[in-house]
């Protein structure tokens, strides 16, 4: 092959590879891309109904309940504005604790309980997932306004 053909071949192959891979991965993306939804939005019914998503917030003090001797656990997560009950069965991460930040993957059941298949708590107790921190910060603002009578309380759909 002459150099110009070589270059064409190389460029063509790279382009083809990226196009094929991107198309295939975009198709795959649809199922593997999980949106993070504010708990307040979940309470408003504003969440993906037919697929998994992620929620995050603080575990409400005193809300962690466990069936004695079983792996099933339930607790409530709050974004300081709305609350969401969560159900999970399995081993919890080391830093899972009441009053601490937590992220859960899963979907919302018909009974309004979030059924988690994965629970994440971060490895450093001072560290909070940025998305959770954002979500909390938004609602701290809202809460101050609500107390001042400017916005309504959490109004589930």
């Amino acid at each position: 092959m002459k150099p110009r053909q070589q270059r064409m071949l190389a460029v063509g192959l790279v382009a083809l590879g990226v196009i094929v891979a991107t198309t295939l991965t975009l198709r795959a993306m649809k199922d593997n891309m999980m949106f993070f939804i504010d708990i307040s939005d979940v309470a408003q019914g504003d969440y993906p109904k037919d697929r998994n998503f992620r929620i995050g917030g603080l575990v409400v003090d005193g809300s962690v309940k466990r069936q004695e001797g079983s792996m099933d656990i339930s607790f409530v997560v709050t974004d300081l504005h709305c609350n969401l009950p969560v159900r999970y069965s399995g081993v919890l991460p080391d830093l899972f604790r009441e009053g601490q930040g937590v992220v859960a993957h899963g979907r919302l059941g018909d009974d309004g309980v979030f059924v988690a298949d994965t629970i994440l708590a971060k490895h450093d107790e001072n560290y909070m997932a940025p998305e959770v921190a954002d979500s909390l910060a938004d609602h701290v603002k809202d809460e101050t306004q609500r107390v001042a009578g400017k916005t309504g309380a959490c109004t589930p759909q």
């Binding site: 092959m1 991965t25 999980m34 080391d94 830093l95």
Partner: protein, 645 residues
């Protein structure tokens, strides 16, 4: 006093790095031998002062000098000695200092081992590395000085993150950094070649050993990181597609492409501008990795620092390096192309495909890692992209690559006149087909198309990698043996096969279950019996723990006991899971304690992981292949020695 000496040494190192970064480059431009000869003394001095600064920080750790902020927040009186010495790189400031020490050390090595190269070229390389050192020294002095004092000094420190108190951690970050930083040498060689406008096959031969060395360290560093997270994160995964893992993996993929493209440039004088681009990309991705880790822009278990100024500073540095190098590239690359051609059936074609596939893989990892960031900035929403996506995306370019390796290794340069599947390859092909199809079914009791595609690929690469060594072993007395370069390639590709075998079998046949368990209770998982004999309290030097003693039996026969722990570190009060792992050559039996469930029951995660050791063994064998290739005497020759094979 000692910390001030360290601080002062860093400032002196900066002064010398500026000298090292400017005078030799000016000298090379003007053809002034006096200015060029500044390069070696300057790097010797810089290395000396950086090493002194590093020693001072280590001293502060070993003597529990908690008046140094960085020591106070990353160490503690009761921390074992080994972890005090290694806590130096347990946080942001110290790891930047380690980075600076390593780049100076690599530069020192270049100065030492390149005496036979032309002076202007070496002066340019050392000068470019000096500019990089300058950037990092400025960064550390302005934004992350490890010698900052804390007043009043606390009586005890805040302890090293318990996750980092593991033997794997002692070696993982330094090796990874040696590899990361090593690509700066290939980068500097590329920039030096572009500055001089002189890029020939000799240039590729000079660059190859440095690239291979950096790649080797990066390979071991990544493998150790995987092994560390398997042991220490406690839940039995060996690769999480975590942004920071990806950050180390992207330079590895591009670096691997670079090694192969350099081979073409050296042997045939082709792919020159492409090689340059890969050298620039590999190092830019190393810098990008640093940015991702240090800025906290991405959610990651590694994101232990989030300070926007630091992020912006690294981003600015990154922009200067990449834009500078690419501008130079745009000016110079058009003049570089060669007139030589090659036929579609030639080794060049296979190496071209290798490069295309590796770069596509790196691009996909890049897209997956940065997509959440782009989505958030474009206000589309907060998304996360999970391991399933990466697993699928990554296999698309990698599987064809693994199959092509077997043929490509045995194809001739320029034009391969005979069949692409010669007689010598038919045996490996047949054996791979038989073993690859039978093993999943006979050993693991389940046939599956995808599994077989993986196992056949693994045996195919291993078999075809053995062809040359076996031929050499059976050769007639007196005929020349394998060159280290060819042997190194065979060994590294054999390592690829081991790795693919491990990954395929672990992914397909892992058994993983979370159960509740009481003392005296036994559970059957994957044909093994796990009996919880006893739960007891144990005391470590800086933690207390609950330990389970679990006996494992295979068909009633005792094969081992594991002691998983739940540790509470005394200073940070964090709970940590320390898994108990029973290791065999062909399987790991993994037990981790979960939570106390009440009624004396504990949740326990039990896993059966077949062939997982082959993943790390494969990586190690790849690195050994690199080491063998490095020993080729051809790389020690001067610029005048010309060889071909």
């Amino acid at each position: 006093m000692i910390p001030e000496i360290g601080h002062f040494a860093l400032i002196l190192a900066l002064a010398l790095a500026i000298v090292q970064g400017i005078l030799p480059l000016v000298g090379a431009h003007r053809g002034d031998a006096t200015l060029m000869s500044v390069a070696r003394p300057a790097i010797a001095g810089q290395l000396l002062f950086v090493a002194l600064a590093y020693a001072c920080l280590t001293w502060a750790f070993l003597h529990d000098d908690f008046s140094v902020l960085y020591v106070a927040s990353h160490s503690q009186l009761a921390l074992p000695f080994m972890y005090k010495a290694t806590a130096v790189w347990g946080g942001h400031e110290g790891s930047v200092l380690l980075w600076i020490l390593l780049i100076a050390a690599w530069t020192g090595a270049v100065a030492r081992f390149s005496r036979r190269l032309p002076q202007p070229f070496v002066a340019r390389v050392i000068g470019v590395l000096g500019l990089l050192s300058t950037g990092f020294l400025l960064y550390t002095l302005l934004t992350s000085n490890p010698f900052d004092r804390l007043s009043p000094a606390p009586a005890d420190g805040g302890d090293l993150n318990p996750l980092l108190q593991d033997p794997g951690f002692v070696m993982h970050p330094p090796l990874l950094y040696v590899g990361y930083v090593g690509f700066s040498v290939a980068f500097a060689f590329a920039v030096a070649a572009m500055l001089s406008g002189n890029l020939d096959r000799k240039w590729a031969r000079w660059t190859r050993p440095w690239t291979t060395a950096a790649w080797m360290f990066l390979t071991i560093g990544i493998a150790l990181g995987s092994w560390w997270s398997y042991n220490e994160l406690g839940w039995g995964g060996w690769w999480f597609w975590d942004p920071v893992e990806n950050a180390s993996f992207m330079p590895w993929l591009v670096g691997t492409a670079l090694i192969h493209s350099l081979a073409v440039t050296e042997k045939r004088g082709l792919f020159k501008s492409w090689t340059l681009l890969l050298a620039i990309t590999a190092f830019s991705l190393s810098l990008l990795g640093t940015f991702l880790v240090r800025s906290g822009v991405l959610i990651s278990v590694h994101a232990f620092v989030s300070d926007p100024t630091r992020g912006y500073a690294i981003l600015a540095f990154l922009a200067i390096v990449i834009l500078g190098a690419l501008t130079l590239y745009a000016l110079r690359a058009p003049d570089l192309d060669s007139d030589a051609g090659f036929r579609p059936t030639s080794r060049e074609t296979f190496l071209l495909l290798n490069n295309v596939l590796l770069v596509v893989a790196a691009a996909l990892v890049f897209i997956g890692t940065l997509a959440p960031l782009v989505f958030e900035m474009a206000n589309i929403g907060k998304i996360s992209i999970g391991p399933p996506w990466f697993n699928v995306a990554f296999i698309i370019p990698m599987l064809p690559l693994v199959y092509l390796v077997g043929v490509g290794m045995h194809t001739a340069w320029r034009h391969h006149a005979t069949s692409l599947l010669p007689k010598s390859l038919r045996w490996p092909a047949a054996i791979a087909l038989v073993l690859g199809i039978l093993i999943p079914g006979l050993v693991y009791g389940r046939f599956g198309v995808l599994v077989c595609v993986g196992t056949v690929a693994a045996f195919w690469v291993m078999g075809s990698a053995l062809v040359d060594p076996i031929r050499s072993w059976r050769r007639a007395a007196g005929t020349p043996g394998l060159r280290p370069g060819v042997l190194g390639m065979s060994v590294a590709h054999f390592g690829v096969g081991l790795f693919v075998l491990g990954v395929t079998l672990v992914s397909a046949f892992t058994v993983e279950t979370d159960r509740s368990m009481r003392e005296g209770q036994a559970l059957d998982v994957a044909g093994h019996t796990f009996e919880l004999r006893e739960l007891r309290d144990v005391q470590g030097p800086n933690y207390s723990a609950i330990e389970g003693a679990i006996e494992i039996r295979d068909n009633g026969k005792f094969i081992g006991e594991v002691l998983p722990q739940k540790r509470q570190y005394l200073v940070q009060k964090n709970w940590m899971t320390e898994a108990g792992i029973n290791v065999h050559w062909n399987k790991d039996l993994f037990v981790a304690l979960g939570d106390q469930l009440g009624n004396d029951a504990w949740s326990v995660r039990i896993q059966y992981k077949p062939m997982i050791r082959f993943i790390w063994l494969g990586a190690l064998v790849m690195a050994i292949g690199g080491l063998i290739a490095l020993s080729d005497r051809r790389y020690r020759g001067g610029p005048t020695q010309e060889e071909d094979s």
